[in-house]
């Protein structure tokens, strides 16, 4: 290799032919898919202008604290403070500028502030668990938050979700769109999690795991994780 391209060299697992294997609509071990996943395949179409256009996402007044989930309340939330940063690109490697990125997560004890979450772990009065930001002109984004805890769910006996952060990304066209979850390295719960494992391609699963990245550390304060996301090019197919 003639020169080091940071984004290309950052993870060798990224390189390879695009034969994406997105999860099936119905994945039996994830019980909720059984009655909710469409049984017919997706109908292939040539899309139109509607799919290639999008508004200037202005519905959130995004402020300075919206990408720092540790300063949204009077006190400091409990738990391990982390930086989650990365880059939004399309599958050609082109940065997607100004994408709207939203995230939501459980607190360090594994409890969501959401009213439907009945897990009897404590709420943290200093942590809501929602953040949003825009990627910059080169697709880079950054959040400051707390490492979420694992939590139990009702899928099967003693089922636990591995620690994860939910992400929503809106790109340059309505169909340049991603809903996903970010996981943490070396989590033994990953390989027994029906949601993570629903994706049949190991390489694609690996890419849902953030990497510890010392360069993003705030010394003596926070640990850094890198999480890059790749969306389909606008106006061309996702897979």
């Amino acid at each position: 290799m003639s020169s080091l391209d940071f984004d290309r060299d950052f993870d060798p697992r990224l390189n390879g032919p695009v034969e994406t294997h997105q999860p099936p609509q119905v994945f039996d071990p994830y019980v909720s898919t059984r009655l909710r996943g469409p049984r017919n395949g997706l109908i292939p179409i040539h899309s139109g202008l509607t799919e290639r256009t999008a508004p200037v996402y202005g519905f959130h007044n995004i402020g300075g604290e919206d990408n720092d989930l540790t300063v949204q309340h009077e006190g400091t939330p409990l738990g391990q403070k982390i930086i989650v940063a990365g880059r939004i690109r399309d599958t050609h490697g082109q940065p997607i500028p100004h994408a709207l990125i939203e995230l939501w997560q459980a607190n360090s004890a594994g409890r969501y502030i959401h009213k439907r979450d009945q897990h009897p772990a404590p709420l943290d009065p200093n942590f809501t668990g929602a953040g949003r930001t825009f990627a910059d002109a080169h697709g880079y984004y950054s959040f400051t938050t707390i490492r979420p805890g694992a939590y139990p769910w009702g899928n099967h006996y003693n089922a636990w979700r591995p620690a994860h952060i939910h992400f929503s990304v809106l790109g340059q066209g309505f169909r340049q769109r991603l809903i996903t979850q970010m996981y943490f390295p070396d989590d033994p719960l990953l390989e027994i999690d029906p949601i993570y494992m629903a994706n049949p391609d190991r390489r694609v699963r690996d890419l849902l795991i953030a990497r510890y990245d010392r360069r993003f550390d705030i010394p003596d304060n926070a640990l850094g994780f890198r999480f890059d996301m790749f969306l389909g090019p606008n106006g061309t197919p996702l897979e």
């Binding site: 994945f27 040539h46 508004p55 202005g58 690109r89 939501w104 939910h166 629903a198 994706n199 969306l231």
Partner: protein, 214 residues
């Protein structure tokens, strides 16, 4: 013309590497990030202040006010009370508001289903959009829910429009096109025309979901 056995024959190593680099950036070389379910707790992350309405005030572009009601139902006919619909549409003249966020209407909205799996979408009826081939009035929809692993995408059309010439609908098998058409309700008032549309995740009337192809 000289026959070349390799596209790189006769090129210097430096030129070969330069072209490789070019090739690498031109070809799809990156795996797309895998999709995951939105889970049951998206509300505080994506619709923090309640829904993101399409109509946010009185300062609106021209267009007929409409109300689209319906429900999202699972394979057993049970309501899905944790689904999220994301809408993108043209205004009444068929124009997409891509330039800047309009204060009261830009064609983008989000609607979470309620305890009965139901939704109510108040908007302007989109016009015939100014596409390469004119598209019949329609809404673009993403449907997210717990138990939905893909980002599901479809369009909603209206039964009182000329849908037979729509270039996208023509690509959907004829016997399933009906699943993408909202029905005008007889209870429509003159100010607001009401339509009804259900999402059926499974079963005989399973809603058609779409994916782009080359």
């Amino acid at each position: 013309m000289v026959h070349r056995s390799s596209p790189f024959e006769g090129l210097s190593p430096r030129e070969i590497m330069r072209r490789e680099q070019e090739e690498a950036t031109r070809q799809p070389a990156w795996l797309p990030t895998g999709t995951q379910t939105v889970g049951p707790y998206f509300h505080f992350g994506m619709v923090e202040r309640g829904d993101v309405p399409l109509i946010r005030g009185d300062n609106l572009p021209p267009g007929q006010r409409i109300r689209l009601t319906g429900a999202v139902l699972d394979g057993a006919g049970a309501p899905i009370n944790d689904a999220l619909l994301e809408i993108w549409q043209a205004d009444g003249r068929g124009r997409f508001h891509t330039e800047r966020a309009e204060p009261d209407f830009d064609g983008f909205g989000r609607f979470a289903t309620d305890a009965d799996g139901a939704f109510t979408i108040d908007t302007l009826k989109p016009g015939v959009s100014d596409d390469a081939l004119p598209a019949a009035p329609h809404l673009d929809v993403h449907l997210f829910a717990r138990g939905v692993l893909h980002t599901l995408f479809t369009r909603i059309y209206f039964d009182d429009e000329h849908n037979q010439h729509d270039p996208l609908l023509a690509q959907v098998p004829e016997e399933r096109r009906d699943t993408l058409i909202a029905r005008r309700s007889t209870t429509s008032s003159e100010d607001v025309v009401t339509y009804h549309f259900n999402f059926y995740m499974q079963g005989a009337a399973e809603t058609v979901f779409l994916i782009e192809q080359e």
